[in-house]
């Protein structure tokens, strides 16, 4: 028994890689949609926080600043436990499974999406703030000069241009987001990591199944790198800027190997 599990079970490895169990696929799917929804929410909340930090109202600036300070200054893992277990333990709020249009969203998944979105929104607000600051003040003045209100100038001129500066760091954060979903296992979200752990403890094929999981994570981040490269080129084209023709392979390799874009040590 012991001897056999010490060996790498090649057929198990290939079998789970190319014909993964439905449990494994379910975990993968949860990882994907939790990441996407949390990131989208984070962009929206982050934009609001970034605008609040530019507000002329001091209180608003202060609240937004404190929000970013707290969320960036505490570990995601701790935030997760506070939101899911802490709120329930003190009877403040208990997440319940909800069923919408025949689809059940687990209580732990709701807590996970909320926490990831809040945590990431603090980083997004800083990214968006830098993006807004990178848009030349002359753009805002040009918008005002044709009679736009400051709100219209922000919405139709400044924010769309800030996107060009926001997409590259946002992409790196989303890469990190997909990987950090693995910590959701502590509150029992059946995502890729937790499912892998369960398969591992029931089959004892720890090495094989975690290698499979690693390859799936790698596939996700690689697909995203392609999407991001395409998105950046698309935005450049919409500014009438043609990128120097570089092979897609070179740009993907760069994205994974440049230490600045890896987001190392940023997250819990």
């Amino acid at each position: 028994m012991l001897i056999s599990t010490l060996q790498f079970d090649t057929s198990f490895f290939w079998h789970e890689l190319f014909g993964p169990s439905s449990a494994f696929l379910g975990g993968l799917w949860r990882t994907v949609y939790i990441s996407i929804i949390a990131q989208l929410l984070a962009v929206v909340i982050g934009l609001l926080v970034a605008l609040a930090r530019r507000s002329t109202l001091r209180i608003l600036r202060g609240v937004a600043g404190a929000y970013v300070w707290v969320l960036r200054g505490t570990p995601l893992l701790v935030q997760l436990v506070i939101v899911y277990d802490g709120l329930a333990a003190t009877d403040i709020y208990r997440f319940q499974d909800v069923t919408v249009l025949g689809v059940t969203i687990l209580a732990s998944v709701q807590a996970a999406i909320l926490t990831l979105a809040l945590n990431e929104s603090a980083y997004m607000s800083e990214i968006i703030r830098a993006g807004l600051a990178a848009v030349d003040v002359g753009q805002n003045e040009a918008a005002l000069s044709v009679g736009m209100t400051p709100t219209q100038a922000m919405r139709y001129v400044v924010v769309p241009q800030a996107m060009r500066f926001v997409i590259p760091p946002l992409g790196n954060d989303f890469n990190a987001m997909m990987k950090s979903t693995s910590v959701l296992s502590v509150i029992g979200v059946p995502e890729l990591f937790l499912i892998t752990q369960e398969i591992s403890s029931s089959t004892f094929h720890t090495f094989e199944i975690f290698m499979d999981a690693a390859l799936y994570y790698l596939a996700l981040t690689t697909i995203w790198a392609f999407v991001q490269t395409w998105l950046e080129a698309k935005i450049d084209r919409s500014w009438g800027i043609e990128r120097a023709q570089r092979s897609w392979w070179a740009s993907i390799r760069e994205r994974f190997q440049d230490p600045k874009t890896l987001g190392i040590g940023r997250r819990a």
Partner: protein, 269 residues
């Protein structure tokens, strides 16, 4: 050309003939007093060119006219509207809301030294944006209008180009078309040609000259003395936050009365 509009009789505030009435404008940035009491009246159809050394306050004055800067003392009226202010029920002057300021600015075109075209929009879209968002014009109507304005500056063939694909002179002409699309009562130009290569300055000046001939009211900061001589009804010499001399181009360029005007002209001519 427009001074014949019986300027003397019509100098009361809000008179239809008076487009700009700037009164005793003072403006400081911190402890630096940049404008020290500038007054200027511009009648409909008149072209006033502002000249003067760097740092004398020309840009700041222009920016006070459309309320990019708020004067510390004094006020500006454009087309009868008190810029940046309104009268409350008791007849007191109070700050206008952001929306009210925007409405006032819509009838004042501003052309920037560095064009400030929206880089993520085509020439056509640059011109269409104001009419669509501010005047709530339909897209089709805005497109027709934008094309007409681009035609006017000689760029209808470049309607679908992005700013990055245009030369400096073309960018500035698109910027002028963008302002004109709002049918302004007044156009302000802040050194519209000083960021341009010499060979394309002419095409921008031609557009401005055409506007002058059509009777557009304009205040232009420019160091192009030859151009000023040709299009200006009056030239105002700024120095150290004040208008030190104002008159027809002939008076100011040929027989300046102030020593500061003479020494400035000797440097730029």
């Amino acid at each position: 050309m427009a001074l014949s509009n019986s300027f003397e009789e019509s100098s009361t505030i809000g008179d239809a003939g008076l487009i700009v009435h700037a009164h005793d404008i003072h403006k400081s940035f911190g402890s630096l007093e940049v404008l020290k009491g500038v007054s200027l009246d511009v009648v409909r159809g008149e072209v006033v060119v502002l000249i003067g050394p760097s740092g004398s306050g020309k840009t700041t004055f222009l920016r006070c006219i459309n309320h990019f800067e708020k004067p510390d003392v004094g006020f500006v009226q454009v087309n009868g509207h008190l810029i940046g202010s309104k009268l409350d029920r008791g007849g007191q002057r109070v700050d206008a809301s952001a929306r009210e300021v925007a409405t006032q600015r819509a009838e004042i075109g501003f052309v920037f030294q560095h064009f400030n075209l929206f880089p993520n929009r085509t020439a056509m879209e640059n011109v269409m944006l104001g009419p669509i968002k501010v005047q709530k014009m339909s897209k089709e109507k805005a497109r027709t209008l934008a094309l007409a304005q681009l035609e006017k500056v000689g760029l209808s063939s470049k309607a679908d180009r992005y700013p990055a694909q245009l030369s400096g002179g073309q960018k500035q002409r698109v910027a002028i078309a963008r302002s004109l699309a709002m049918s302004p009562a007044l156009m302000l130009f802040d050194e519209p040609t000083s960021a341009l290569d010499p060979e394309v300055i002419g095409e921008v000046l031609t557009v401005i000259r055409d506007l002058a001939n059509e009777g557009m009211t304009m205040v232009i900061v420019s160091h192009e003395i030859g151009f000023a001589r040709e299009v200006a009804d009056r030239v105002a010499m700024f120095d150290d936050g004040q208008i030190v001399e104002i008159g027809t181009p002939q008076q100011l360029f040929d027989t300046p009365s102030q020593a500061r005007t003479k020494s400035f002209l000797s440097k730029v001519l």
